[in-house]
Symmetry: D2
Subunit: 444 residues, 4 copies
């Protein structure tokens, strides 16, 4: 990741898991625990394992050299094992014989990616928890804040702001469940050796795998999965859904921040959202970051799906294409969640402006209410037709729909003035908003 | 879908769920059950509901006219309701007042898509069951069929063909579980009216929704989800993963069918896989179809993710972009499963040829075995270095590695001739293949 | 394509080029011209060629059977040649010997796709010409129609509506040029036989290719390009860019149609854009279709790029994945252009509303003007700071910025009242809008 | 970009254009030339411009602080201008008034990206030139090297290796032309100010733009193009095509390097392509990197297309999503070209092995030759049928096709033994391979 955009799109906490040092550390963790597991099952001497584990520190590794030479082997692990072996040898030449026994580069890299992703997803889970908490508060606060609902960006019928937020929340609760499930089942050890048969480990391989997965707190799979990539794609999908859900929130807020609508605003902060040339602007910078990230993730997720078509026992390019793609998905999603937490913590809601905007159509948004009340008497088609005419007249004359309807002789034969006015009350037009809110809050 | 490619890429059974008639039928089913649910809760008269339901038949609809005029409204439902109302009116003008009460086009279309997808996924589940069954047989039959494992398409170390198939199977079993879960939880009723508040249905909306979801055997969500699209994306993801898993199988088989490898062949059928100009060819036509479909799906899934960024209470284009994209994902996946069933039913496996190919490297594939045996004595680095030299010599002289190793004085000081020969036995080099097979079969 | 969505997303004219009949016709055209070219160079008898050409009519083909059986061979051409040969044989058994000589299925399918795409692109070019014409009129009519320019959907500074449309136009003119160039150079004959060497045609192959490309008015390439797919991707790219450009237009118009903004409207038509439940709505149905199509195309274009990684002399799936993907890109783009022509023919522009909206910020949009005038005296940083304070005050008090600035003693020391008022004139704040318009119109 | 994968996937030279320092330098170059251009047209004092230009050095900028704070404003330019102004002020407080006059962040960022992309594309052009040179040599050297052509990865008919490489070359020559055209027309100045009207620059804006584009050697567009993104997408497309073309080469070579085929090998280098566990392997590491990059680019290009749907005068997220996506496309393509240069410089071609492989089907690859010779006598259908039978027999008996055909009484009535043997000569079966090679070489 380019450092320069760190604070624009990303979560610092999660990005710190993806530095060169961090990646190497996860790989070394694999090598250390491998030695430990092998010692436990008497595959290698305990003393050797202890030396190896001790040496598995990123400080011992010359990353610059790894970076420069990795191209020769096609991955960094080959050279990492070389360097690690040299470090171990300096301490204890006997122990050096037992480094990376039976494992292959893909075991190290896949498992390291799992550990790294798990740590990142755990941070994302924490942040999401905070986000959900904030949205719950927003829903509760605005359970009865009436605003216009918009379809195709046009005024449709009233809803409450609480109802709108409950929609965001409902989707995020599903994302929360998916993440929880992911943390329980989605992260697995990869340990298979050259072709996935652990042939380098003799019969003790199964036990070693079991011990390794315990040590790393990863699932122990039925078989090595180096060639079946659905686990990585599933992680990408869960994050992609989360990013999409956040994108929807950011889209709504950025639309509501429009100068002409002005119903909701990102919390202001010193220097935030200012424009270099227009001192008055209040740009939706948080929304922008979320939307940018949510725009980038679908293409990256597509690449993860494409990479599933692995060939034989180790893929020729499809595996390698996953590395940075997968990292990018995680980092961009983490960034989106971080930004969403900031965005909704102190979100400004202009309740008065919502009421003002509700009146912009001169009552046309109540047309359906009146139409339905009328439909009970004359049927839907006729009611629709009658009210459509009234709407045209109201639009043409620039007056409130109510005033036209009340003067219509056909309609008033069926509906009283009181009944008509009742239909034009926004607070009574929000349907089941509150009921749905309750149901969503219950599911949190 | 272009009819012309029907048998090339698709499942006839599933495609038949996506004809114009089928789509309209699903939409009519919604309208019929809506009336029924509303009658149950005394929102509309029972007699009216009965008439409406009776009229909800695709034969009553002029699809050509729908097709021609739908562009005006932006979706087919507006005109469908008009036509349906006219049909009902002819039977009973009173009943015509009660058509499509409180619902909106998106309710009908989203729910119809759910029903359609559920039916398709059920068919896919059946086919997948059959596929899994066939793969189980293949695994059992070839538990001990030794072949070379290939990494980066190069000979690596021996595996068994059963082990390879167990990898395919393992992933498909996960897909099976995902589909099962999907069929239980993934399909939900959408019923929300103009802005998702069911404002047109007064207080009885919640009960109507409950009844509707029972009638349609769909989940009853906490709230209408017209603006939160993760459900559709989840279905797309489950199918995308399945297609990717099948793509991996097709990739392997097509590679194994290469003239130079010739280890596995698609079952032959009269006229199948023939070339128009080369009478001798046996083209992997089944693999090709699966690979083509698996290549197309990632881009389509990306579009589904992109569409999550819905605006406000009904999206301006993002919703519409889902329709055909979602259908295509379903149809292509169904096609891939169908082709995979054909492909693996009678798959020809040339066990002899596998043995012949194992010997192509003159024993180089056993280098790791010898190296590891040697490593126990002299350490990994030295062993690797010694064997590397032997490999070079074997390659240069064109003789079997064993013959070089046996003459190496340094090595033979550590390893006996018997020990060396033992390392060059392919049947003893498949590691835990059989153990993993057992674990996978247990999970089926 | 699903028929049902024909009028919602597509161009009828272009879609008619993609029916089963049309596809078969293009393939038959190839077979007919091939015979003709071969007769010209004495490869086959003239009489045979005449019979073959005569038989190359779609009426002679049993499409249902093709559709049912094509799966066996993996493409429709194999069976098409069989059927065609049978038809020819009935007329003249001698002639039947000369059908499809030396060509392979990919020659027929690739070339047919080129012909089909060329016809479609020609129609698109015509429509685009009309669209450009309409936009030129809009630009000219609204050269001086002042409106607010919006960045991040916030009021920024004034522009003219003509300037906004000139931006749309400028991009479309580049698309026009790209399409023109495409029609001249982008469509090429594919004729290579089994492996692209025309080995079936002896030495006369080069001449036959030349004649074929003349007969089909396609470019004659340096060599058969069956394995180099950049030509198809280039066509996809040109159309994808066009669709993206149209998406931008649709995005702008749909945003301007928002109830709160209401500056621009799609032309109204009987029944168009109506809502099934809200009689007053005026939905951006044209924009929606364009946005939906523009949302779908990027994923499809990605697939075309993915398919470039062809293997050897005929690709195992990558070729097949192109067929429907490529067609979809063409059909969706054609639909988008059609909709854009409708959309901008009679676009309603509310010039008064634009002026009203300009005043919504109480002059804050002129802050930069004043700031810059002031900067000439006190430097940019100080000016920015001073005006920022005035903006805050204006916002807080809810009064016009001008009224605050005029009372500021520091500022008025540098700027006269007249100078300040001059800065708050929207008509004088549109910068080079008109100059840019002139430059764009010159380039049309 | 993660440093760690630098040598695995990337070009060091191109990546160095994308460091934080480099990005800031390009942005500063914009600010410096802007001042210069404004001084030339007497918009700002010459002395001020000189001071500004002098200060526009990356050493003057505190990048760590930019990185930390950029999130507040949503882009790095806002803070960069602040820092730059402070630096200028220290030198000359008068000059500080004239920094970044009339420009907006998007002007700086878009133009900087253009400059950066142009420099990168120039390096790519150089590398591509070298690659083309190497391929020309390969084509010439192997003009007559006969090998089997493969369709669907099955033996089809003979080609020459020179012909195969000529296909790669032909596509790359088109990429070369596209890049050349791009370097001439594809890179343009963006200078429009807040809403693209250059309103901050009064009448002199047009001249300033002209001068700016001369100073930066960029095209001067008809109007600012901040909202029309086709230029960036076009660059992405040209690079995407190039990457796809390289992917095809890497796919072919990696398939030819398969142990069973072994016709072509990446040049060997010390430590290159070795396996950590299998001393004998020769992994296609160059191909892997190219394939990985070519696999990742389509999804990224799709994002660029998606981003075209900009809103109004500055996009809310679509612009920001381009930044890293566009950089990634450039860096990955540059890496692919670099790897391809390495890969084909010293490519090992095993001409003998190609001849051996040609015989693997026992003459079945000549079936079409014989079939066609026979077709001249008995018609295509009958010939095909007869030869199909011979092929089956040859396959079944495991003998050479020729030996079966020569004994077939029906066939030998039409074809002499000599004629039959002539058909089974691979050197005479490569059709127009050499002619096409000549045509391609002429086009280089």
């Amino acid at each position: 990741m380019q450092h320069l955009y760190q604070s624009v799109f990303y979560s610092e906490k999660v990005n710190s898991l993806f530095t060169d040092e961090a990646i190497i550390s996860y790989m070394l963790r694999f090598e250390g625990e491998l030695a430990k597991a092998q010692a436990k099952h008497n595959v290698i001497p305990v003393a050797a394992a202890e030396t190896i584990e001790e040496c598995c520190k990123v400080e011992n590794i010359n990353i610059a050299q790894l970076t420069a030479d990795a191209g020769l082997g096609g991955n960094v692990n080959i050279l990492l094992v070389k360097q690690l072996t040299a470090v171990v040898k300096q301490k204890n030449s006997e122990a050096a014989k037992y480094v990376h026994i039976g494992a292959t580069s893909q075991d190290v890299i896949d498992t390291a990616m799992m550990l790294q992703a798990r740590d990142a997803v755990s941070i994302i889970e924490e942040e999401l928890k905070q986000l959900v908490k904030q949205l719950v508060l927003l829903v509760e606060e605005h359970r009865n804040t009436v605003m216009i609902g918009r379809s195709f960006m046009q005024h449709a019928r009233p809803i409450t702001f609480g109802y709108k937020v409950a929609g965001w929340l409902d989707a995020l609760v599903r994302s929360q469940k998916a993440i929880e499930e992911l943390l329980q089942q989605g992260f697995a050890l990869q340990l298979g050796g050259a072709v996935g048969t652990l042939s380098g480990m003799y019969e003790k391989g199964l036990k070693e795998s079991e011990t390794m997965s315990e040590l790393l707190a990863l699932n122990n799979p039925s078989k090595p999965w180096h060639t079946e990539r659905d686990r990585f794609v599933t992680i990408a999908y869960v994050l992609g859904i989360l990013a999409g859900n956040l994108g929807k929130i950011a889209k709504d807020i950025s639309l509501l921040m429009q100068t002409e609508i002005a119903e909701v605003f990102e919390p202001s902060a010193n220097g935030k959202g200012g424009s270099s040339t227009m001192p008055h602007k209040r740009n939706p910078v948080g929304c922008i970051a979320i939307l940018a990230n949510a725009t980038r993730i679908p293409g990256l997720v597509a690449t993860m799906f494409s990479c599933m078509i692995h060939d034989h026992e180790r893929a020729t390019g499809s595996w390698h294409a996953e590395w940075e793609t997968f990292s990018d998905i995680i980092k961009l999603t983490a960034g989106a969640v971080s930004k969403a937490v900031e965005l909704t913590n102190g979100l400004e809601v202009d309740v008065q402006r919502m009421l003002v905007n509700l009146e912009l159509t001169n009552g046309l948004i109540y047309a359906e209410n009146i139409s339905m009340a009328l439909a009970e008497k004359v049927g839907k088609a006729d009611a629709h037709h009658l009210i459509e005419q009234c709407c045209s007249e109201a639009l043409f004359k620039g007056v409130h729909l109510k005033d036209i309807v009340i003067k219509d002789k056909v309609i008033t034969k069926e509906l009283s003035k009181e009944k008509i006015e009742e239909q034009c009350n926004s607070f009574k037009s929000v349907g089941l908003s509150s009921n749905y809110i309750s149901q969503v809050l219950k599911s949190v």
